[in-house]
Symmetry: C2
Subunit: 294 residues, 2 copies
Amino acid sequence: MTYKQLYDQILRKGSFLCVGLDTDMEKIPACIKQAVSDDKLPEEEAMFLFNKAIIDATVQYAVAYKINSAFYEAEGWKGIRQMEKTVSYLKENYPDVFVIADAKRGDIGNTAKQYAKAFFEKMDCDAVTLSPYMGGDAIMPFLKYEGKWAIILALTSNVTAEDFETLETRPHSLEIDDESQNHVPLYERVLRQAERWGSKENIMFVVGATRPDQLYRIRLLSPDSFFLVPGVGAQGGTVEEVATAGMNSHCGLLVNSSRGILYADSSVNFASAASEKARELVAQMRLYLNQTKR
Amino acid sequence: MTYKQLYDQILRKGSFLCVGLDTDMEKIPACIKQAVSDDKLPEEEAMFLFNKAIIDATVQYAVAYKINSAFYEAEGWKGIRQMEKTVSYLKENYPDVFVIADAKRGDIGNTAKQYAKAFFEKMDCDAVTLSPYMGGDAIMPFLKYEGKWAIILALTSNVTAEDFETLETRPHSLEIDDESQNHVPLYERVLRQAERWGSKENIMFVVGATRPDQLYRIRLLSPDSFFLVPGVGAQGGTVEEVATAGMNSHCGLLVNSSRGILYADSSVNFASAASEKARELVAQMRLYLNQTKR
């Protein structure tokens, strides 16, 4: 999917909502668990059928779905098969939707190539989240696919982001004459390097919603790129804070909500409750999208 | 597996060799590919049967196997099923061997918990490689499992390790009075933080073989921990350099070779060629192990 196609979808739906499919077998509604234990539903279909119900109920509001690989891996190969089925279901039924594999991979070139094959060929995801720790090698193989995206961790929403991401850095000793290079947080160094690897057309960044002041600063540093923003809802961020601090002239945001939508209701009404939660978030988003368009 | 059990195995086998199962469907021997295309061998067994042959041929020399998750993910759920079968085969037939999932995961706490479940419960791996970018949240859930290990990326063997891993860092402004804190490479900061998370009994570090001078320095900083050292062979490092720079009184090294062993021969003799390559590496290793024991 191109930058333009994504932005067009955002305008069409009046939304920059990404629904996170962190599908947890321990948290899915009792009715699905019961159907599995009654043998009315095969266990290896439960995650997929839950996802399908959530997708159908929220797709009028969501421009993107983020599939959190860990939850599927935790169920072994049967989980991966359901992840694959979820991606196929999205692509076949809602081809406009942007599909993100939230996998946070990051390895040397020949291994990164295999991960790219996994998410872009074996599954037809539009994007995959990547960790920059190992440098450009870990990112470049993903950028060779036309219309596919690398979403690179910059500043994340978790407390221990401060262990390393916000440390001040400076380049190797040969280059230290330039004092302006000496107090650059690691996440900012990631943003700068990424400009050498790709562009706003194939790179996005993960920027947590729990740090609106820093989100504002990061928007100044990277005015055109899309940011994938987790941390709204369960982790404490709000749409208002994120939109105010991070929106650009092409929206530039995909705001993710996972638990707040998926587990809004644990009864048989889980899908309509998810739909209602998505609708509420999008109602807030529209206020800010309309301001930008003016 | 405990630190002591691992060291005992090293002494018993006179080896600190880790065989990397980077099983690439494009590189496996022609005889296996032929058997698949002749329908004599189901496609979804090819990686597992190749691994089984490699394991049986090398296990007298190897103390550890490192399964590179990317290569299995690239084959979809059928690949993951073969990864699971490989781990089970190792655990059932060679319970002394240390099994590493080379996955380089790293995510927030509730997601990291799912990854730990995937590699330590769904599969019975002894260790998983992890990226430290997101900080302690990404590591801690793995340390809750007794006898299991987190192997944290410190300084890797790839060229672009210098993009971020070797940047000089300093802590947040509140703490900068201490000048000794001001020129610490990021990978060293990772080593220091990791001491707060765990110990030599449940944390190892990835340190590339292509940087023996830095390996020596890292050994001084972390005298007791095990290092998983990739980069010997195809990437250019040698056993001599690594042992000289990195060995401690309890060996402290797992030196990995993947391509040099797996693809030593592409004929029907691939397994005996792999065995011979492993034997050669271990012959070199024994020289250094004997020196340490004296």
